[in-house]
């Protein structure tokens, strides 16, 4: 009975404030990884996203927005729970934030079927780019293979002909090496799959030295990469065999944990803080001012996700009742991306330039990334043709 009274009172309240309700902010649900060792990735995405909101005083594209953030703890089950809650309790129509592909695979297919728009600021599993693509799913970062492909192309361009490959023994590790090999035309000196979460690579390094390759490509995300790079340098190998990898092991925050050991390493990325365009200059400066650190590529992706949403909200005037119109607005990608030119392919994944960067000294004892070369111009992922929308 009391519950009924409360509902009635609320209903009355709603009818009185009906006009004010029209100005209710658009809710955006962010499911991301803020705890565990990988928690800094979600932190970067969230901070980048919130920076874009703060620059407009809590609005995106002139429309007031409210960001709901929750931590999935890198757990697909938990991610799914949060997404359900956002949709059912909070009535969220736009979601974003997921860092890891396995969490994305658990959350995204269900969410987009419920007519919620999902904009991925990081994970880009091939399953969602090819046959499993969906009109409500947009990826504003990259398809998972892209950064590996860029390094493969770079290896071909500079004429490496005997490259040693190393990745953890799990799906993303195998995809990484497959992505590299898609554009690398030389010989493979060795292809090694390490244990996921392995911390000591002494054995692998000894075998690597014995194979005498002319370069090494590795994909070891997070702490695994830190360990590998340090041990690679300690074994004196960084003076002999060039090391290459995707940007994931060389973001500005990991570089601080690796120190000089990463100097000279070449890595593939779609973005860097030194990219010369107006949007990027504004972003990097504002980010440094707001958070006191140099943004990583994850932060740039969070920022772009927010600005993409803003561009579409502006076109529909904040009205999300017509999902089709909102989708059309998103597809135009009418925002100045911090990475420069940006378009959506038919599978709603990026068409963008991809660069290689090199880790160089910055200041007395710090290191940072410097853009070296554009490897791909207007690069599209390998799965777009399989997507029928």
């Amino acid at each position: 009975m009391r519950g009924l009274m409360l509902t009635a009172a609320l209903a009355a309240l709603y009818s009185i404030t009906g006009i004010a309700l029209a100005e209710t902010p658009v809710k955006i649900g962010m499911v991301t990884t803020l705890s565990t060792k990988a928690g800094y990735l979600g932190e970067e995405i969230r901070d980048g996203f919130m920076l874009a909101m703060d620059q407009e005083g809590g609005r995106l594209g002139g429309v007031p927005v409210e960001l709901l953030v929750d931590d999935d703890g890198r757990d697909p089950g938990k991610g799914k729970q949060i997404a359900d809650r956002f949709i059912q309790r909070d009535g969220v129509k736009i979601m974003t934030g997921i860092v890891f592909s396995n969490v994305a695979m658990a959350v995204v297919p269900k969410v987009v079927r419920d007519q919620v728009i999902y904009i991925s600021p990081n994970a880009g599993p091939s399953a969602l780019a090819g046959e499993g693509c969906h009109e409500n799913y947009f990826n504003v970062a990259w398809q998972n293979d892209n950064l590996h492909e860029a390094v493969g192309q770079y290896a071909t361009d500079v004429g490496f002909n005997n490259v040693y490959l190393l990745a953890p023994n799990y799906p993303a590790g195998k995809d990484a090496l497959a992505g590299f090999k898609r554009y690398y035309k030389g010989k493979v000196a060795g292809e090694v799959y390490t244990k996921l979460g392995q911390s000591d690579y002494a054995g692998e390094l000894a075998a690597l030295r014995a194979a005498a390759p002319d370069a090494v490509f590795f994909f070891l995300p997070g702490g695994m990469g830190i360990n590998f790079i340090k041990q690679y340098a300690q074994a004196g190998l960084n003076q002999q065999i060039p090391l290459m990898g995707p940007a994931f092991s060389f973001d500005e925050r990991l570089l601080r944990a690796v120190g000089d050991a990463a100097l000279g390493v070449v890595n593939g990325s779609q973005w860097n803080h030194d990219l010369d365009n107006e949007a990027n200059r504004v972003f990097v400066e504002a980010f440094r001012k707001a958070y006191g650190r140099t943004p990583t590529l994850y932060a740039s992706q969070g920022y772009d996700a927010a600005r993409l949403i803003g561009s579409a909200l502006k076109q529909v005037g904040g009205d999300l009742s017509d999902t089709g119109a909102f989708r059309t607005a998103l597809r135009k990608a009418d925002f100045p991306s911090v990475r420069g030119a940006f378009k959506f392919a038919t599978n709603q994944h990026p068409i963008q330039d991809i660069y290689v960067r090199e880790v160089v000294r910055a200041g007395a004892d710090g290191t940072t990334n410097e853009t070296r070369k554009k490897v791909f111009a207007n690069h599209k992922d390998a799965y777009a043709a399989e997507c029928r929308m």
Binding site: K37, Y40, S199, A207, R209, I226, Q234
Partner: protein, 304 residues
Amino acid sequence: MLLFFEQLLNGLQLGVMLFLMSAGLTLVFGIMRVINLAHGSLYMVGAYVAATVFLHSGSFLLGLLAALAAAGMVGMLMELLVLRRLYGRDHLDQVLATFGLILFFNELTVVLWGRQPLFMNVPELLSGTIEVIPGAPYPSYRLAIILAGILVAGFLWFLFNHTRLGMRIRAGASNREMIAALGVNIKLLNTLVFGLGALLAGLAGAMAGPILAVESGMGESILILTFVVIVIGGIGSIRGALIAALLVGMVETLGGFLLPALLRLFLPAATADGAGASLASMSVYILMAAVLVWRPHGLFPAHE
């Protein structure tokens, strides 16, 4: 062949690390009958304190000493505040409580140091490589770890076989009621043993700092292997821990190197590498199962 010897050294180095971890754990397990899952946290404390002191002072030695002191102290506090209440309890209670400690320490490091892994460099003196075997340069820092492990093993041998304290600890491991009845302060002995174990874990952590990522949760990856070592070695036996640690270190390292090569003889390379990697990660557990079938109490159990 060169590669094989280099891998032997790598196995030895991993074995030494595991020995430092398992020596303390096996004593605690053997004497106090407590399963301390939080032993890995002491390793993490060692690494964090060493890295922090190193960052601020620039001295590796100072970092190492601070790590020893901090890990020893945290260990004794842990014993006084938490584990002391668990001695008479069921193993399940101990597992729950010490698992709670893991969560506590992991979160504490995040609160104190943040999520970003800390950076710790190899001391200048040990930053190069040495050709122990001609033609295969080996990082001198890893050689220093091996040396440190041998020194610690020698120290422990002396402590346990030639000092009164060591005799009491051994006595406590084989019959704690009797030694208490003989008037030895078993409570103090427990705290000391725990402190010693923590100190060794801290030493392992501090030495691992320059090789590995110093990050929250780093203790868990080595903890599992440490448990394998003490089960193989026989609970409560330092000698067992030493031999089992070397055995596990060798199997872990050589397995990853030999198995894929072996499988490549009769399988296509890609399949062989994949299967070899999977088999190699199982090899330590297969070893443990085999030892337990042969000797259910481990190689050198302190009490049957």
